[in-house]
């Protein structure tokens, strides 16, 4: 927060600002003191904002041409691809945009996990972030249903059937979700309605996410509390905006690479076959960003158990701030936790891989080991390592290791290595 009260220069601006202090908010966002050592892993907040706006804009345009009816949806998507001016471009941006959105959000989440950004006093930022992540998964799932291809239909069937695992009321809930006795036209219709709604809910939560962030201010790679504003901070504009803009440009190059050169590589070819309720595709897989959870679901030889563990894998993240017992935020100063962190990253990637493979033989064994380790990381590793680990000395300020490098040269190098 800036120390001085903002006063607009022109009379008209002052008149307006006295009645609605939007300009004060703008000045706050411009001056917002930001830790000067933020690395490129911190640019994904801006990138995610870009992704959300891209999805909303392209989505609104696609809705002008799409028809949410079981008999017409598939054809209307092909109509967008072939007849609508630049329809192919807009749809490919939207479909690949979902993948890019998840790519960015996973990097953003793993950044938080490495640097302890979820810890006190930032628990609420973390929890709002997880709510955004849940809504993103719901929106992506429903969006994938809209083209009404084979994967759309059977993906919707499998996911909605997860709710039938609930004892006693499961079947009624599933029928209620469908609005029919199977995934059918009413299901498609309501999914379209909700798919249109959810991005705006996300937008609202993003405002809360940033608001909650601006109370304590950004965490940073050394993970210490800093005085604001001070020698340790720089104003958000132009220092962070220009860094964010550069990262965004690189991100957009990768994004464009997918859109223009391999627009279907992340999708499944079966979704170019119209939905057929009589034939299940030989190998159903969800989109890549849901694969680790799918692997957890399939690793349990019990229907209800699998569903509980799959949802548990997400909901355990909500209590993460209280499972982590370490006083030190950043893994830069946590030699033991750092190793477990990378094992965890590897484990999630492995679960994603086996989620794409058939659930048999070695893949089933790997999925079970991976599932057990996933939960052990949160329930055992995090509390125990936090208590037992001897952490490296933490600097007093961000400037210290950089400017007085002689005292702790190894420390300064370690930080630079991480960024």
């Amino acid at each position: 927060m800036s120390e001085h009260e903002y006063v607009p220069k022109s009379k008209a601006a002052k008149w307006f600002n006295d009645r609605l202090p939007l300009l004060t908010l703008g000045a706050h966002l411009t001056d917002y003191p930001t830790p000067k050592n933020l690395n490129y892993w911190w640019t994904f907040g801006g990138i995610l904002t870009f992704c959300l706006i891209t999805q909303i804009v392209t989505g609104i345009v696609l809705a002008m041409h799409y028809v949410a009816h079981a008999d017409l949806a598939f054809a209307s998507v092909e109509h967008i691809m072939r007849d609508v001016n630049y329809g192919w471009l807009i749809r490919y941006i939207h479909s690949n945009g979902a993948s890019m959105f998840f790519l960015a959000v996973y990097i953003h989440i793993f950044r938080s996990l490495f640097y302890g950004s979820y810890k006190s006093p930032r628990e609420v930022i973390w929890i709002i972030g997880l709510m955004i992540y849940l809504l993103m998964m719901a929106a992506a799932f429903m969006g994938y249903v809209l083209p009404w291809g084979q994967m759309s239909f059977w993906g919707a069937t499998v996911i909605t059937n997860l709710f039938s695992a609930i004892p006693l009321v499961g079947d009624s809930i599933t029928t209620w979700l469908w609005g029919a006795y199977s995934v059918d036209n009413p299901t498609l219709n309501r999914f379209f309605s909700l798919h249109y709604l959810i991005p705006f809910l996300i937008l609202g939560l993003v405002v809360l996410h940033i608001w909650a962030l601006h109370v304590p201010g950004n965490n940073n790679p050394v993970g210490i509390d800093i005085k604001k504003p001070s020698k340790d901070t720089v104003p958000f504009h132009p220092y962070i905006t220009i860094k964010d803009a550069f990262a965004l440009l690189v991100f957009m190059i990768i994004f464009a690479g997918f859109v223009f050169f391999t627009p279907n590589v992340l999708g499944h070819s079966d979704n170019y076959i119209p939905a057929n309720p009589l034939v299940t595709p030989a190998h159903i897989v969800p989109e890549w960003y849901l694969l680790p959870f799918y692997a957890i679901l399939r690793s349990v030889p019990d229907k209800l158990g699998g569903v509980i563990l799959m949802f548990g894998a997400i909901f355990i993240l909500f209590v993460l701030p209280w499972l982590d017992t370490s006083k030190v935020r950043s893994a830069v100063f946590r030699p033991i936790y750092r190793q477990f962190y990378w094992i965890f990253v590897f484990n999630v990637l492995m679960l994603g891989y086996v989620g794409a493979m058939p659930a048999e033989g070695i893949y089933l064994v790997l999925a079970r080991v991976g599932t057990i380790y996933y939960f052990a990381h949160f329930i055992i590793v995090m509390p125990v390592v936090g208590l037992l680990e001897k952490t490296d000395p933490v600097p007093m300020s961000i400037s210290e290791p950089v400017l007085t490098g002689g005292a702790e040269p190894s420390l300064a190098r370690k930080i630079n290595d991480k960024v």
């Binding site: 059977w154 499998v158 029928t175 209620w176 609005g179 029919a180 309720p277 299940t280 229907k303």
Partner: protein
């Protein structure tokens, strides 16, 4: 405090009465909003289907659509019936006799919902370890009576309500 003994007065009554009426009003508005998502009259109207089964050869099956879901109608051979009845109930995760899954005197006709009880995929016929159906989604094996034998599915494939209208026609639903 002790002087003014707390007792129920007119205002408390008005508060409680207002909250109660308010809660009833909110509930009366919420329920239609929830119930509108349940299957509508058009969906319910599709509740029965009549199927001609005269062309099915022994050992073969057909698949028809009922309420948006596939129904398997299989005319089983006597060997298949014998195989289904030879299974010990102890070997079944969801014990059920084959006799209880068919109509009396029409033992060759297996009519069931072709939906895997795990997560709703359509199992493939003549596949799997038990000479019955196999679900490709998550690997559930069903036997020649449609009973779950191996895999994550919790129960046997469901038998819908159906009846023989005459010897060549069945009505499902």
């Amino acid at each position: 405090m002790s002087k003014e003994e707390k007792k129920v007065n007119r205002r408390d009554f008005l508060f409680t009465a207002s909250y109660t009426i308010g809660a009833v009003g909110v509930g009366a508005v919420i329920w239609p909003m929830i119930d509108q998502m349940n299957p509508d009259k058009a969906q319910q109207a599709l509740a029965t289907t009549e199927v001609d089964i005269s062309n099915i050869e022994p050992g073969k099956s057909i698949t028809v659509l009922w309420r948006g879901k596939p129904i398997f109608i299989k005319k089983r051979t006597s060997e298949e019936i014998a195989e289904a009845r030879a299974v010990k109930l102890d070997d079944l995760p969801d014990p059920q006799k084959d006799e209880d899954r068919v109509k009396d005197g029409k033992d060759e006709w297996l009519v069931m919902l072709g939906v895997c009880t795990h997560l709703g995929c359509v199992p493939l016929k003549d596949k799997g370890d038990f000479n019955g159906w196999f679900c490709p989604c998550h690997g559930s094996h069903y036997d020649v009576s449609g009973r779950i034998r191996k895999g994550p599915a919790p129960t046997n494939m469901e038998i819908p309500k159906f009846e023989f209208v005459d010897s060549n026609t069945i009505k499902i639903g």
